[in-house]
């Protein structure tokens, strides 16, 4: 069943009376990679979490083309600070499969396969909490992709990673996108945005200032804030 389009009408998220996101109107179609950019504290994370459904809307509506329960099963989220479960690498990656009832042996085999793809094939039985930052993020990515989600949200997955780790992660993402996974990702790295984006959402102060195809956005933003942001000026 078709998940997209995802539509948000006047969506708003508040915490302790402070507006984190919104009001937001958005319609996402089923193809390509969407990159969310914007200054720190603009509400990128809250927007992604709202779309993913881990943060509930205080106002407005958010609808997938399919029933909500089904949509929840077909998406995954990679956090800025990856959460390592206190288990071995292979059990971390296998965990989402175990949750949906895949037998232990098969889940471990598929997880081991993924571990090899992210260069952790030698570290299967190592404790995940002992991994380095880049390895953690790759593990989180494998764990998110192992259920082959239709939509993958990523919240600055490459923040605080070096060039090589970033490249490895981008390779996995590009491959996933080729395989039909819809990527919705926030980033601070404009180079990365240019490499991956099919469309760009610019968020400032919890609102969407611009939502346009990547080529158009990078060629010339429609709003002065967008232009200033692209130039590298400080936007608040």
């Amino acid at each position: 069943m078709q998940m997209f389009p995802l539509t948000v009408e006047q969506g708003m998220v508040r915490r302790r009376g402070k507006v984190l996101v919104g009001p937001v109107d958005l319609k996402l179609e089923g193809q390509g990679t969407t990159i969310v950019v914007g200054p720190n504290g603009a509400g990128k994370t809250s927007l992604l979490k709202m779309l993913h459904g881990v943060v509930r809307l205080n106002e407005g509506r958010l609808n997938w083309a399919c029933p909500r329960e089904e949509a929840e099963k077909r998406q995954a989220f990679v956090f800025q600070m990856p959460v390592m479960m206190r288990r071995s690498v292979v059990e971390n990656i296998a965990y989402p499969l175990r949750l949906i009832g895949v037998p232990r042996k098969e889940a471990r085999a598929r997880a081991a396969d993924w571990a090899r793809r992210i260069d952790l094939g030698d570290a299967l039985e190592r404790q995940a909490v002992l991994l380095s930052g880049g390895e953690r993020q790759k593990l989180a990515l494998a764990r998110a992709l192992i259920r082959e989600p239709d939509v993958l949200f990523l919240d600055e997955p490459c923040a605080s990673l070096d060039g090589r780790a970033t490249r490895e992660i981008e390779e996995i993402l590009t491959e996933a996108a080729r395989g039909g996974t819809r990527l919705i990702m926030s980033t601070h790295n404009m180079g990365q945005a240019q490499r991956l984006a099919d469309e760009v959402i610019l968020v400032i102060g919890g609102r969407i200032h611009e939502f346009s195809p990547a080529a158009d956005f990078f060629a010339g933003p429609q709003t002065p804030q967008g232009a200033a942001f692209l130039r590298g000026d400080i936007v608040e």
């Binding site: 929840e72 099963k73 995954a76 479960m85 965990y95 989402p96 949750l99 002992l130």
Partner: protein, 234 residues
């Protein structure tokens, strides 16, 4: 001072000669306490995880009550269990009073709040780590509880050991509900109380040293098992 030395040498000879009475009451101590600990853990650990994972209206009150009950006076627990199990009480027909089962019941009541409170403290921290991930993965309540219990097992071991420590050294409640009957409900702590009352300080001290030694041995054994289980980190 000479009592101490007398106690030490008495303990030494009791252990070396494998005194049959000593072996009997030591094994009974262990059996009662480990049974109580197993039952209490089966109640307290899932309860602790549930309290960490689930937000319900009386949650804060429940946690506050649990914390308060950690200091439950054993004699009072013993008294209440006694009243319930006595011939005239609601469970009198079961004939449990002055049996090891009654002692197990009293100890379970004493250590459940302790184990649950300590376990809840550590599981709450683990849950704040896992919260976003497990919510995002669309887990059920049961799956969250299982993940916490499994991944937090080292911390839970500490909680269980605290419960063991409290139960093995407890005398007030099991004296009341067990009655310290020779060859039936006498355990190390009640025997120590008895010997002290009789003025047999060397014997009482000897039993005391055996009790302490056993508590240390059990703790070491459990830690050793926990460490060899997997890589020794968590």
């Amino acid at each position: 001072m000479s009592d101490l030395w007398g106690g030490l040498s008495q303990a030494f000879w009791l252990v070396v000669m494998l005194d049959p009475d000593l072996v009997e009451i030591t094994l009974r101590s262990l059996r009662v306490t480990l049974t109580a600990l197993a039952i209490a853990s089966a109640i307290a650990l899932p309860l602790a995880a549930l309290l960490a994972v689930r937000r319900f209206r009386m949650r804060r009150a429940t946690i506050a009550v649990l914390n308060a009950l950690m200091g439950l006076p054993p004699v009072v627990v013993g008294l209440i269990v006694y009243v319930f199990l006595s011939r005239a009480g609601p469970f009198g027909v079961l004939g449990l009073l002055f049996t090891p089962s009654a002692m197990v019941i009293a100890q379970v009541i004493i250590i459940v709040p302790l184990v649950a409170s300590i376990a809840h403290q550590s599981l709450r921290e683990l849950w704040s780590d896992y919260h976003d991930l497990l919510i995002s993965m669309n887990t059920t309540q049961g799956q969250r509880i299982r993940a916490l219990l499994w991944d937090g097992r080292r911390a839970l071991l500490t909680a269980a050991l605290a419960g063991f420590g409290r139960a093995i050294g407890e005398v007030g409640a099991i004296m009341v509900v067990g009655g310290n009957i020779d060859h039936a409900t006498r355990v190390l702590t009640t025997a120590i109380a008895l010997e002290t009352g009789k003025g047999e300080f060397a014997m009482a001290l000897g039993l005391g040293f055996v009790l302490i030694g056993m508590a240390i041995a059990v703790n070491l054994a459990i830690h050793w098992i926990g460490h060899t289980e997997r890589g020794g980190r968590w």
